[in-house]
């Protein structure tokens, strides 16, 4: 059975109204044939079918409004026969309701499949009502997914497994981001002479264990700047922007074995620098030992990536969906700088960038945000509150 679903006919189309069917049940349909006319927000559009077959049932009614992806019609492929339906007067079997359409998977099976990386879709269930059981998962895990063309390597070591899984997760999130989020980018060079001088003085009077890194100052400044530009802090959900209740900075932490995780520094704007530094150190350490809390993994409202003193000049990041912005910092380095009265100096400078979701904000606001960030970093003592 081929399912013909309402296609997305434009980036901004979420739904459509069926105006006309161009076929009726029993008609043969060729690839590319226009079979329906659908009204979208912009215009009436001819809808083509990209599969061949014979129309079995027209599910959608004329005048019906449907979301993109809704089932409109079913087609029978060549050689396929219609499934038997209950005739008139033929009662549905009494007793327990028909098994639900959802696949039945036991909780233990689902959990174990995830641990083993087994795809549940390819497992036939043998439990009650055909549910996939733990045993089914174990059996499936023992058999390779596809008939192997070459000898299968032995099951990967757990560490490699994990790295591969992480790569997969990053791939999925970043692909989705680039597919769905219309990014724009702005950048700003920010002189850090005052900030670093203040930091040196501050660190000189602190014990080693309480020393602050420039990263803490940058994060605090981002959090403060976000208070004035809340449209950069939050999520894109269900077709709209949902502002974050607090400012939870996702801090991109690269792992030594490759990959990265961006756990959240919760409520960063409200925390004094010393606390922020301690939490940052703790977060980095736990990220690397793999003992993060789920709230830290889920609750970031924006991501900050900091390539640090080993990194490049600047970085233009990919937004982590459903977040709507990412702030990047490049390497802090001495660069020539023209100051207000026209003099040329060598100063430590960092390039800050913003990648943001154009559905939520515009470049102008993004630029203002970076200006605010630059301004805040000129008054480091005020960030220490």
């Amino acid at each position: 059975m081929i399912e013909f679903k309402l296609p997305s006919l434009g980036a901004d189309m979420d739904e459509g109204t069926l105006l006309e069917w161009k076929v009726k049940p029993g008609d043969a349909v060729k690839k590319g044939q226009v079979i329906a006319v659908v009204d979208t927000a912009k215009a009436a559009v001819d809808v083509e079918c990209w599969q061949e077959g014979r129309v079995h049932e027209l599910v959608a009614a004329i005048g019906e409004k449907m979301p993109v992806g809704a089932l409109m019609a079913t087609l029978l492929a060549a050689g396929e026969t219609a499934p038997r339906r209950l005739g008139a007067g033929e009662a549905a079997p009494a007793g327990p309701a028909a098994p639900p359409l959802r696949r039945l998977i036991s909780p233990a099976a689902r959990k174990h499949a995830q641990e083993l990386g087994v795809e549940l879709e390819r497992i036939a269930g043998t439990g009650p009502h055909g549910a996939v059981t733990l045993e089914d998962v174990e059996k499936a895990a023992a058999v390779p997914a596809e008939p192997p063309a070459a000898p299968v390597p032995p099951p990967a070591a757990p560490a490699a497994d994990k790295a591969a899984e992480m790569r997969k997760a990053i791939a999925a999130a970043m692909s989705r981001s680039k597919r769905e989020i219309p990014h724009y980018y702005v950048a700003e060079d920010i002189p850090l002479a005052r900030a670093l001088a203040w930091l040196s003085a501050e660190n000189a009077r602190r014990p080693m264990a309480d020393r602050l890194l420039p990263a803490a100052l940058l994060l605090k400044a981002v959090a403060r700047a976000l208070q004035r530009y809340p449209e950069l802090n939050g999520y894109w959900r269900d077709g709209g922007f949902v502002p974050g209740e607090r400012i939870n900075l996702g801090v991109a932490v690269s792992l030594r074995q490759g990959g990265l995780i961006a756990p959240a520094l919760l409520d960063a704007a409200a925390k004094p620098l010393t606390q922020l530094m301690q939490e940052l150190a703790d977060l980095v350490q736990r990220t690397r030992t793999g003992s993060l809390k789920s709230s830290e993994l889920n609750e970031a409202t924006i991501t900050v990536t900091n390539l640090g003193d080993q990194g490049s000049h600047g970085v233009f990041g990919v937004i982590y969906p459903p977040q709507v912005a990412l702030v990047g910092f490049g390497r802090v380095a001495e660069r020539p700088w023209v100051d207000a009265d026209g003099g040329l100096k060598a100063l430590p400078v960092v390039t800050a960038s913003l990648a943001a979701d154009h559905r939520v904000s515009d470049g102008h606001r993004g630029a203002l945000f970076l200006r605010e960030l630059a301004e805040l970093l000129q008054h480091p003592e005020e960030l220490n509150r």
């Binding site: 000189a204 080693m208 020393r211 420039p214 990263a215 690269s254 940052l280 980095v284 003193d309 080993q310």
Partner: protein, 82 residues
């Protein structure tokens, strides 16, 4: 008193706590350490904190510029402890 040998051992051991994957024999002792081992600023701070804990020496930020290679670090420690 600490011998150079002992100082070097302490440095390597502390480093391994931060970056367990490093192979001692691959390290060039006269080349910048942070590029060889890929230490970010947090790692670097933790490395120095580790030395501070083991040896009880305070390392002011102003001395960071003297600590580039593994040899530099060993010399620095010896000068502080010795």
């Amino acid at each position: 008193m600490m011998t150079e040998e002992e100082a070097r051992d302490v440095v390597i051991e502390t480093l391994k706590n931060i970056a367990p994957e490093i192979a001692h024999e691959d390290l060039r002792h006269d080349r910048p350490l942070r590029y060889q081992v890929d230490l970010d600023s947090m790692d670097w701070l933790n490395f120095l904190l580790g030395l501070n804990k083991r040896l009880g020496i305070e390392i002011p930020e102003s001395d960071y510029s003297r600590l580039i290679t593994l040899d530099d670090v060993v010399d620095y420690l010896l000068s502080k402890v010795g």
